[in-house]
Structures are given as C-alpha cells and as structure tokens.
Symmetry: C2
Subunit: 360 residues, 2 copies
Amino acid sequence: MGGDHVKGRGGGADGTPESAEPSPNGRRPTMEDVAARVGVSRALVSVVFRGVPGASASTRERVLAAAAEIGYRPDLAARTLASSRSRVLGVMLTVHNTFHADLVEAMYAEAEQVGYDLVLSAHAPTRHSEKAVGALLGHRCDALVLLGPETSAGFLEELVERVPVVSVGRRFPGTRVDIVNTAEGRAVRLALDHLLGTGHRDIAHLDGGGGAGSVERRRAYRDRMRAAGLADHIRVLPGDHTEASGAEAAHRLLAEGRVPTALFASNDRSAIGFLDAITRAGVRVPQDISLIGYDDIPLAGLAHIQLTTVRQDSVGLAREAVRLAIERLDRPSLPPRSSVLEPELIVRGTTAAPRADVDD
Amino acid sequence: MGGDHVKGRGGGADGTPESAEPSPNGRRPTMEDVAARVGVSRALVSVVFRGVPGASASTRERVLAAAAEIGYRPDLAARTLASSRSRVLGVMLTVHNTFHADLVEAMYAEAEQVGYDLVLSAHAPTRHSEKAVGALLGHRCDALVLLGPETSAGFLEELVERVPVVSVGRRFPGTRVDIVNTAEGRAVRLALDHLLGTGHRDIAHLDGGGGAGSVERRRAYRDRMRAAGLADHIRVLPGDHTEASGAEAAHRLLAEGRVPTALFASNDRSAIGFLDAITRAGVRVPQDISLIGYDDIPLAGLAHIQLTTVRQDSVGLAREAVRLAIERLDRPSLPPRSSVLEPELIVRGTTAAPRADVDD
DNA sequence: GTGAAAGCGCTAACAG
DNA sequence: CTGTTAGCGCTTTCAC
C-alpha cells in the first residue's frame, strides 16, 4: 500500500500545490478525497453513497470506482451525527445461545436488504442486559432488537420511551415493546398431539425455568394434557434450558424409578442433555422413551442426534423483527404490535409409539 | 417525536433563565443539557465524562448526578468524530462457535478495564469475513480483533495497513498482524503424552481441516508420534471442527473395522460428535477407545460428557488480545508481536488405559 | 477551575 | 446536476 494520497483541496483550482500536503500514511480517506479525485463536489459523492437520485449513472460509476481505488468507505460516526438516523439496528443476544446465532445470521441478511447494518452486543453472566443495552444506545442505534431478553418489564418500559424496541421470544404485555414470537400454544399442541397420536399418555414436561417462552410452554402443556383427560399424568420437571438441567432431570427420573413414556422438553438444549444422559444409563430412545424438543437448533438435526422437535422459524422471526423495527421508526406512534409465527413439527428419530408392555 | 428544543445558549452567563428550557421528552439529552442543569460549561461536563483531571470532586459529582437524572449518556458517534479515537474495539467472531463466545465474554471484561467498548460483527456462511470486517471499519473501531479468521493473508495484509489487527488462534507470518494463540505444539504433546503414558500406541488424529490451529495440531501430532517411534500408527482422519465431521469419522472407522485405541481430536466439537456416534454404536468410551479433545468448551465439562481435553486459556487469550490491540494503538510502529499462552490438560472421563487384549 | 472557538466527516436544504 | 451553507454532539486547544 503505502499510499501518499493528497488530501483535501488537492489539485484545487488555485493551482498552488503548496497548499496541498501529502497525507501521512494511515489517514482515512474522506468524501472530499473521492470528490477531488473524480473532480466533482463532495455533495455529489454523498448523493451517490446514499443511493438517492441526483447523480447520473456515469457519475455514479466514476465515484464508486474512485472510492474503491483509494479504499474509501463512508464514516458511520459522521453519517450518524449528521443525519438523524444511523441506519444501524442494535441486537442484544446471549452469545452462548446457538438459536440466537441462527436468528442473528438471518437478521443480517434481512437488515441488509433494507439498507441497515447490525451491531451486536452480548448479554452474559458477567455482563448484565442493562449494560449490553447501554452500549447499543451509545452507538446510537435507530432501534433495538432484544433476543429473549431477561430484563424487567420496568426497565423495558423506560427503554422504549427512548428508542424503538422489538423483543423476540418474550412478551411484555402492557409496554410499548413490539413483539415477535412463535405461536407457543400451537407449537406445544403440535408436539403433544404427535405424542398422543402415537399412543403416549404418560407424558412429562421438562421445564425451561426463566427462559424465553417457558411460561407459555408450561401452561400449554398443562392445558393440552387436561383437555386430553390426562390431568393425572401432568408432571413438570424443573429445568432451565441448559444441557446440564436436562441431564439432571434424566438422573432424577432414573433415581425415582418413574420414567414416563415420553418427555416434552422446553428447548433443544435441555432435550439433548436429557437424551445423552438417559442413553448412557441404558435407556433406549425412542424404544423406551420418546423425546421431543423445541427450537430446532443446528445440533438437533445431526445424524447421531436426530431429535424430533418443534421448529421455530428463525428466518421468519428475524424478518419480522427487522420489519417491525423499521416500521416503528417510520411511524413511532403506531400501537404496539406483535407478530406471531407458525411453528413446525420436525419428526426425526427420538419419537415412536410407547412400548406395548407399558401399563398406564 | 416533535422535539422543539432550543439549542446553543441555554443557561448562559447572562442570567436570563428564559433562555433555558426543559428538554421535551423524546429528544436525546446532550452535554449542553447537563451543563445547563448544573450551571457549568459544556467543556467541563466533557472533562468529567472523559475522566481527565480538570474538575473538582464536587463538580464531578454534581455533573454525574445531573446526567443520571436526565438520562444523559455520551454520544459515541459524536465522540468518535471529534476525537481521533473511538475507544471501541471491533471483534469479528463466528456466532455459532461457543469457544468464541467464551472469548468474547472475557474480552468484554478486559476491554472495560481499559475503558474500551466492544462491537461485535459476525462472520457466517451468508456473510463473508470481508463484509463483517467492513462493518467494523465503518464503525471506526480503533483496532480489530479477529477470532480464528479464515481470511486470506493478502486481505489481512491490506487491512493491517489501515487499522491495527490482532488475530486470535491463527497465525499470519509475514504480515504485520499481531497474534495471540495457544502453544499448539505443547498442547498436542500434553494430549499425546497423556495417552502414551497410559499405554496407548494406536492413536489416530481427527483433523480440523481449515479451522484455526488445525495445521499446527496435525503437524505436532505427526511429530510426536514419530518421536515416540510410532510413525506406523500415524493416521489422520479428515474433519473440519464440526460435530458432524466427528460423527462421520466414527462411522467411517466402524465401517472400516479399524478402530484405534485412542483418538486425539482437533477440537471439542468434533470430539463430541465422535463421542456421541461411537457410543451409540456400542463402543464404550474410555474402555474401548480413549478420546481427547481440544478447547475445553462449556459442553465438554458437562456431567454426561466429561470429555478429557486440552484447555485453551480463553481468559488469557482475551486479555492478551485486548492488550496487544491497545498497545499497538499507542505505538503503531512496534514490530508485529505474538503472545503465546500455555495450554492445560484437563483429564476427565474419556481417557483411560487401553484394553489389555489389544494387540499392537 | 472555566469558557470560547474551531473543527471531526458527513447530511440536508437550497440556490444556482 | 453542482456548489454553498449550516449544523449533528462532542473533543481539544487555548485564553481567562
């Protein structure tokens, strides 16, 4: 590289070269540099980069070419400061969550289409949501998308006064937060009907604790069991959406000697933990026990896992999250909306009819 | 939002209170607002928020209090634009990689201590590293930390001319990129010596393909085997650091009927995939085959997995990455440095002495 | 300690 | 299509 590009008024009309000075290597090229190189005004370059009408196709091309040559790229900080919008969406995620990874990946694609960029901020054990959100705010994101936020409704209520907020996977009734999530009730019914349809009656639920969607899934499980006349078989095992809690549940079940014929887990991670632990203990899946998860994370489809699960439409959730955020920017006074997506049952290898010898 | 705030001269020395006015809800408070509220100049507020000397303790307190009351937080875009440094580190990661998650978590803590913020940008199948890096550049990050980048050396060579770059886990000899990684050679020796020490001779290696560190691990495996006089037993199974490739390797081994007494995997993910597949096929670990991974991701320590592995010091790697980046900012002309961290063998349940009946 | 003034690189509104 | 003129909210001299 080692560019010794001339900045600013280089090649100015006055023709006094001494007024221009060589840019020290390391200076970031500006719009001015591009303009000078093409021989147009800075404003025109701005027009080109914003993609608004006002520049001829040929000018546009020359500007873009010159920019590429000197390695120019618009400065987001300056753009943000000058315009009221940063064209950046802030996303808070849990960096260890692979379902969030799926969502983020899809959101990148979605945001790009509407000319938006994403900045990610992680929520972690050592980093509270409040701090993660604060960072996003500092970056002047136009809107925030929170993935399964475990924040208080009060915090969100204040937050949403300052910036549009979309929550994915968790509802905040009574606040102005926009919501996108999966139809939890239908999802649970899909799972349980599949189990019931193959003859299961002794179906337990592995709970998700404080995780996103847990409350709805737990309630829907209870409702469906009651509706099927199986109120006596309702059994909710404590869990928290981690593999460890799934494994723990397996051990507890084994220790108690009361293994149900089927288990509906609140998410895939805990289902996989359960699967691994129970398999190692010699219990066969699905022959001895059927297992069904929730989310359809990448791991679930692996050849050696083949977990039957309820898929959440990550691409759809991502699309809706971006759409709601952008819409809210255009019309801040819209009433809070929620976008509910359809789940899909993915039948793989961990579910089958119960053993014939099971007395019920 | 309808803010009709009057900017500029609020609360001036002329003592006309009517020139100050309450900030309407919806407008983001500025330094000016804080200054007006406390009755000081904007510059002083700036001094307080930058944490530089120049304000008395009492003033400092009053400013901070006023800022908290009106919900002010410094605008990063403005700060970035005005100063040469943004105090933001850009981090590129693979959002599906849980080891990256560990690193990011540790980096947040580390960066905070030196007054830096992190912005994350994901590399994904649908989003090339080049694009992820571009976004970071647009945000005017002071320096970039790339986690296991799979970019070409040429791209990095150009990149590092524009901004300090630290690569974690992958070396780029001949470029000015700073490196932090684990002592791969020692790590592999740790793993193999453990296996050799318990009597294994037929030790295969599950390769990591193009993944970070794979080349070094593969070579170190070969070297160590040769040094132990086991050149005949050198066997490298194709893999790519995913669970699926581990499972595939297991199936292939089984099909060929040539199962070694021990397997050293290039990372934990592939080791876990292998573990799951081979266990399901009825092969017992560690009785029939010992297995050792690399990284020590969160999953490895779970009760039902208990994978013996070589731990990479994620906290140390994170610390060094941040340190190198900051140092480079202060002294751009420093020669490229590399920081190599010590690995640690974590012996869990997947390794044991080989079966006595194995003829070798 | 404090205040005034000049930008940072861009957008936006308008007159040519 | 083009150039001009103001800022955006902050940092950074530099005088007081």
